[in-house]
Amino acid sequence: MLSKAKLWLSLAVGTLLMWSTGAHAAWELNMPRGVTQISRDTYDLHMTIFWWMIAIGVVVFGVLLWSIINHRKSKGAKPASFHESTKVEIVWTLIPFLILIAMAVPATRVLTAAYDASASDLDIQITGYQWRWEYSYLPQSADEEEVSFFSTLATSREEISNSMEKGENYLLEVDNPLVIPTDRKVRFLMTSADVLHAWWVPEFAVKKDNVPGFINESWVIVEEPGVYRGQCAELCGMDHGFMPIEVHALEPAEYDEWYAEQQQLALAEQELANAELSMDDAMAQGEEIYTASCIACHQAGGAGMPPVFPALAGSEKATGDVQVTIDTLVNGVPGTAMAAFGRQFNAVELASIITYVRNAFGNETGDLVQPADVNAIIEGGQ
């Protein structure tokens, strides 16, 4: 913990910095109106209830303030003796009750509409992982490939640790954004692979928990093409603050084009699983993935944060039997934070990560792991 003096000093310096740079002056006071019918209805409800509360506040605090100013002993006020009135009590029970009914009616209407996820044009399964999102476009016919990818924070560790200027979309940018069409009903099926998460995009007024073992529904019809950003809203562990959501809403024609392209990529990826990797390619791709997905726990240089997150540099699991390394990555370590990554990456990526881990951080094993080695473990495990 910091010494008090140091804390005050940093506070003072921080304040000065804030004033001098006027950095990112954002004084947003209210929620966005959003880009869907439900989000606009939600916003209107929010503003209606807000003004009701202001009105009640003005009356109640008005009487209070008036009493404080006028009914003070120092001004010679004598206390009145009125006391207890059933009539008054009934009035101030009934009026709030009627206001609440007036609010409950539109709230019920909006909620009912928001709950109607039927007749969707497109279904996307959103799976939360510690600490990234997986988007799977459910095939709508037997000859479609399932398009599925992970979406991970794209902000660099240097920006987070303040050794680099922070970009405009600091902490709200990802490597692979979710892509959806405008003007079509997109249904989201929410679940989780580990702990609870909550998928939230304010502009859609969609926030739903991702619960392991359960599937929740939500839906949008986005009316404006654009980029919409959100964050995980349910505490999901260490990097809860670092798993943002980025959605690109495209015009339907553009979306169809993108989707066809994804179909091609999905086919190509299947081919790739049988490819042979070169050492240089594996190391380069492995480092890239390590930096995006492993570094939060295992840290730069594979130092880890023992005992919860073990070091990889010189560890038995990373330098011993290569089968153990593959098994650990593919199947995880039950009961610990080490997830089973076998589903999160394809065989090429898994092979690259293992090759990287077994040769970086001074783990000079010289092993080059191929996708076929990984597939052997994946298939053997099933």
Partner: protein, 535 residues
Amino acid sequence: MSTSSAALDHSHDDHHHGPAKGFSRWLFTTNHKDIGSMYLWFSFAMFLLGGTFALVIRAELFQPGLQFVEPNFFNQMTTMHGLVMVFGAVMPAFVGLANWMIPLMIGAPDMALPRMNNWSFWILPFAFALMVSTLFMEGGGPNFGWTFYAPLSTTYAPSSVTYFIFAVHIMGASSIMGAINVIATILNMRAPGMTLMKMPLFVWTWLITAYLLIAVMPVLAGVVTMMLFDIHFGTSFFNAAGGGDPVLFQHLFWFFGHPEVYIMILPAFGVVSAIIPTFARKRLFGYDSMVYATASIAFLSFIVWAHHMFTVGMPLAGQLFFMYATMLIAVPTGVKVFNWVATMFRGAMTFETPMLFAIAFVVLFTIGGFTGVMLAMTPVDFQYHDTYFVVAHFHYVLVPGAVFSLMAAAYYWLPKWTGYMYDENLGKLHFWMSFVGVNLLFFPQHFLGLAGMPRRIPDYALQFANFNWISSVGAFLFGFSQLILLVVVIKCIRGGKKATDQVWEGAEGLEWTVPSPAPYHTFETPPDPSLIKDQ
């Protein structure tokens, strides 16, 4: 404690014994005043500890980027801050007030179960030592939030979670014993003439609170026991892979957790209902309706728990039920606020420190109530849920709500406890610094939440920077201002202007009929029934 006046009052009693000397006085005491004082000191210490955790959080959130702590430690701070403040600061402080004041208010010589009273206090320091010690263990302390949602708190928890579970069990046992004691005292030990509908509201609110405690603390004990079994004995209550249900955890937790928030606010209503009439020099406007409103709130608190879980994926009918039930709470709560305002209306007010805190309570608690009504609206809650809007809401009802009522109570009864008047100038300084600090701290958090900042994150997007640093400045102002209270209390114990028995011109009730300071033993014979007034 002044023993001289006690000795004078009881000089007829040859067997009278005052407090023992030294540490054994406190260790073995069965005296409600000693135990009350220990509860109050303990809760103040926990308030400073929990506040220190909060300042670590606010220091980290002062600017975007990670500056002082790692995300994992940040999560331990949010968790510990919540647990220590709820179970260590607010609840024991109200139990301390109950110990001190309930026997004095109903004309009883002591609590009904004095030995259990001793025990229920003395297990608390052990519970908290156990819990806080986890911060120094391998793998760190609890890092899953004070709501400890499974499976983050089971399968994915640090190994210290077992200590946390044991600590919660002890705290729960302490609360249940305290509650049994309060009920037994109020129902059995009222002085002749002290009918239920003549009891001061503080006694009423505590009676109802005690029932809430007895009803829900076992549920909390159950839920942490289920966690323990999931972690160590291979069960799958909350593990979906084993056929369990993570949402079940939330239903059980909030069945405890929602009444819990009323456990922390009902006694505050009682305190404010005592202070406002005193300094307005006018009877409480509607005593009966206040009692009924308290009971209604307590009843409703059992049927609204799932409003904490609107995004969890309940069926529409469930959402609607919990929305309507939650909105209903605004009605009895409104009755309370209107009654306090009607009591001040056309009174003859003076503004000593307890009154300042009480008025600030009425205003700021009501603001927290307004956001509460907004949060009750399910479709809009989808936008508010788990954001800083919620953080602002519950801190408004808990800090300038429950905590301000505790400050008010401390200033109000301090002369009765010590026999001296506290330093009014320092008290007012404490109030104004707290008032400015608390609003600077929590008001901007409404804007942060609406603009989209989730809670429990150690770092945030740049558009949240401005209100975060304002909030952090407010946090440090509020935090350090609390040391003024410590100075006031120590000064007041050591001396000052002698307090009269009545202390406050407009004060009414049995506690003001005994000397100041209250002798070690009071009401060994029941008070004269003519002293017991209609409410």
